[in-house]
Symmetry: C2
Amino acid sequence: MIRLYHWNLDPAGRLVRLCLAEKGLGFETVESAPWSPHPDLKLLGPGAVAPALLQDGTGGRIVAVGTRAICEFLEESVEGQHLLPLHLGQRAEARRLWAWVEEGFEEVTDKLLTERVMQWVRRDRQPDSEKLRRGAHTLRGRLTFLNALVETHGFIAGRDLTLADLAAAAHLSACDYFGDVEWAAVPDLRTWYARLKSRPSFRPLLADRLAAVRPSPHYADLDF
Amino acid sequence: MIRLYHWNLDPAGRLVRLCLAEKGLGFETVESAPWSPHPDLKLLGPGAVAPALLQDGTGGRIVAVGTRAICEFLEESVEGQHLLPLHLGQRAEARRLWAWVEEGFEEVTDKLLTERVMQWVRRDRQPDSEKLRRGAHTLRGRLTFLNALVETHGFIAGRDLTLADLAAAAHLSACDYFGDVEWAAVPDLRTWYARLKSRPSFRPLLADRLAAVRPSPHYADLDF
């Protein structure tokens, strides 16, 4: 039995949900929003924040917190669909770009996504337009880099789907909910994202809805 | 044959050097400073930055860039000293705290360490005292958290040395070069660091010197 503490539009939680679904694992979810963490999290480890995964099995309980711990744990313990290539050099490249995505999108999450979400959480709050502007600028740079990668190889770290693709798709999908991704400027990335979106693992993410904030018109459109 | 592109006081390069030494691997080093990256790096992958590792062996060439790719590659491919526990739950905890260290020290590196280093690179430049102050404040918070972890377990992620310890020691040692770690406030962490410092893998780091900037008096002192 697997339980996942996460929040719908958190890119880190989205990566874990994609990873679990690609591995064909069923799981129950418990909501833990960044501004109101679930009280269980404190018990899982000092400083633990969502996403956090609990697995109870014959070998006892496994607790894994954070994308690095969770995705590597699933890759090590679950047979089936590989999300890291078997060749050591290709594995290294997939991990490099997975790390690049997580580090490179930190500022986008901090400036752009968090600002959009907090505007929704506290309705009376005005968004910080300077933050939004800087977040959007950073996002454009990241999109250009990712577009060049998928133009060369088809996927981000080579010719196969890896955790680098799922991480990038997790981040972009959250920004796309608010219509912040300028797809027209990055046609190869758009093609790549259309392929990712069509995977069964993506369906639950496309069904996510915030109360009173509709997603951008093309958010769940597979042919956007 | 292993070649490492790195810069002496970069915490990421320090983690890789510690990891290689703990694994008992010999390697040659090539300097690549953040403000003047070695031209080879461009050839290793789009957007590649130090630390970067090249291994030529019977199986061909492996290129691994960044701490996540390099340390996981070494852990997967080299027998001997484990730097991640074998038990899946303990591995997850080690990876969680390794990631916590790398994310949690980003601001310390950005505000405090980079400011110290750039002051050395461009001698005519005045340090930004507000940045230094905020970096020092963040560092104090990180020290308190790490102190609580080692007080409980002896090492950061449990009772054994893991990549989480090497990552924390890599970051702290770079700050310690400039005397920025207030060891007196964190006695358990100080004991832990004294043990880390005494490991043979640490010796090359303690011998690092910047021209014209002496390290803090206790930097290389094992009994500080």
